[in-house]
């Protein structure tokens, strides 16, 4: 594995402006915005799988959408293969269109991410059509068949002329994966790819993704709220809270030796397979604060079980704990 990252995010911010009424605009009230992603930096190595974990509303889906250009970033940089992602190709920039050929996204809901009036063949062939690849009918059929079989739908011809409603949830997610594979991408951004599926099918899909990763050396960003799938799947974990990464490290480090109080709380409530090993649960108090009005100081302090006075004032910066492990907490800064 060469140490050059396939994807790098530097101080990425994605804000969604809150619409103002005419009255508010006339009163010159300040423009508010939802700070969905608020300063996220990470680097993803080639062939690596990084899991982004967090509760609903912490901004993990927004990160995925920003990386692939579905949302416009407010600030910061995204680098793909060492080049900055921009609208058009350039000397030091990679165009969005080019990026979308080399990076593919898998969406959460396999029931919604397939056009109900398109056949499976058309769905899987669509990336080829969009990028003007595999022009001849034969090439295209071959590419689609390979992708479907790689995604575990065999025999592929059997599925060509079917509609999504004729398939089960697991099969649909395989179609989604097949259409992501057909362009032979280097990076896969999977936004909760198994959360809508039955537990029995989850393992199959996760195994499929893991095999593909090993066979093709695809790098994966795996977004989830489920820590048990992460342990099974990821090389590294980034824990997000309210638009920021609070802890990032190798899976082993984060799961065995969590440093941030939020990670500790998350881990303590994750279901453990061995009931004797059950840890003392840390139940967080209160609700996640409003991402429009973030709390001063550390954004976790209103819910933090170990918060002290400084936390209300000072915003913690990531502390390096080991070569691979970082966490942002004032307790660690001392």
């Amino acid at each position: 594995m060469t140490p050059n990252p396939i994807l790098e995010a530097r101080e990425l911010h994605t804000y969604f402006p809150v619409p103002q009424s005419l009255f508010e605009a006339l009163m010159r009230r300040p423009h508010l915005s939802v700070k969905a992603v608020d300063g996220v930096s990470f680097a993803l190595m080639r062939g690596e799988t990084l899991a982004i974990v967090g509760e609903s509303g912490c901004g993990k889906t927004t990160i995925a959408r920003t990386l692939i250009g579905l949302e416009a970033k407010t600030k910061g940089e995204i680098l793909f293969d060492g080049k900055e992602v921009a609208l058009r190709d350039g000397q030091t920039a990679i165009g969005l269109q080019h990026l979308r050929q080399r990076a593919q996204m898998i969406f959460q809901d396999p029931y919604e991410s397939l056009n109900p009036r398109a056949t499976i063949f058309d769905i899987v062939a669509e990336p080829l059509v969009v990028h003007g690849l595999a022009k001849s009918e034969r090439e295209r059929t071959a590419a689609v068949a390979t992708a479907l079989e790689d995604a575990g739908l065999r025999p592929a011809e059997h599925y060509f002329m079917r509609y999504p409603y004729e398939l089960s949830g697991g099969q649909r997610q395989r179609v989604v994966i097949a259409s992501a594979l057909v362009l032979q991408p280097e990076l896969l951004i999977a936004d909760e790819p198994v959360s809508m599926l039955d537990v029995s099918i989850r393992a199959e899909i996760l195994n499929l993704l893991r095999d593909l990763r090993q066979k093709r050396g695809i790098s994966v960003i795996f977004i989830t709220h489920d820590l048990s799938t992460v342990a099974y799947f990821a090389d590294r974990i980034a824990v997000m809270y309210l638009g920021r990464i609070v802890e990032i490290g190798l899976t082993r480090e984060v799961l065995r030796d969590p440093q941030h109080p939020y990670t500790k709380a998350l881990l303590s409530v994750a279901p453990a397979p061995n009931p004797r090993l059950r840890r003392k649960r840390v139940i967080l108090q209160g609700e996640t604060p409003n991402p429009i009005n973030l709390p001063n100081g550390c954004r976790f302090h209103p819910r933090c079980p170990v918060a002290f006075d400084q936390c209300k004032i000072k915003d913690p910066q990531p502390t390096v704990l080991s070569k691979t492990h970082q966490a942002a907490c004032l307790l660690l800064e001392k």
Partner: protein, 319 residues
Amino acid sequence: MSDHWKLFLRNLNEFWKAFRRNKLGLVGGFLILTALLAAIFAPALTPHSAVDIMRDSNGRALTFASPAMHSPLGTDDAGHDVWALLIYGARISLMVGFLAGFISMFVGSSLGIIAGYFGGAVDTLVMRVTDILMVIPDLPLMLVLVATIRQMDLKVSPLSVLILVIGLLYWTSAARLIRSQTLTIKERQFVARARAIGAGHWHIVRKHILPQLMPLIVTNTVLILSTAILIESGLAFLGLGDPTQPSWGTMLNFAFSRSAISNGAWWFYLPPGIAILWVSLGCILLGNVLEEMMNPRLAAHYLEGDKGMIAITDKETGL
């Protein structure tokens, strides 16, 4: 590819199976089909043309003659065969109605998709124009427009004027409907997926948005056809039709202005009226059934009476 052809036939077959179950839809289809066939095969259905004048053995024109062997629906004030007028008039009425209906649906769908898909300033502009057109009463506006364009002495046939005015003014409700549907479709995940793949606007609209709208567009085209035919009849009745190419509305206009009613010539004014009713009823029945098929939420469900469902009665359960 033969696979696509097979798929198309399969879909068609499934559609027909579902359609066949609804009697009203079949009736609607029958009404439209008979009118179309009568219009297409008009020369085979009558020995006369619309301008032939019926004469008796003395060579005098038969005016206001009641139905008889030689003219099954009687004659009008000048001795024309009403049956011949009716089926040749069907050609004009249906042509104007269909063309105007298609134009209005095309304009309405395109503007609706553009407004809904792009949103923002484009949306505001299109929708304000739609609002303004909706506020102005249709019929008076069309009357004024048709009459004015006639006066301008352009080298356009009166029928084209009629078709264009109806088609280009009657798209407002379609535009609103299509826009609102587009708004919901473009937020769906498969559109986001298409964007993430790198698809352009044209590709997304053509491959992802239009196919979802198609049922709505087809249904509304059928429904709008009836309105277009009614408007054409209305305008022609008010004297804005083409007198050289009489439609059903023109026939009614003649019947009215040449005192068919006081002469008791019911065979002159009833047939065109019934014909208009025939076609617009057909369109509405067919359109409603299609709408119900495309949108299952509109379908009525009964616990009893449906063959596929068995209601358990008190006697059987003993409850």
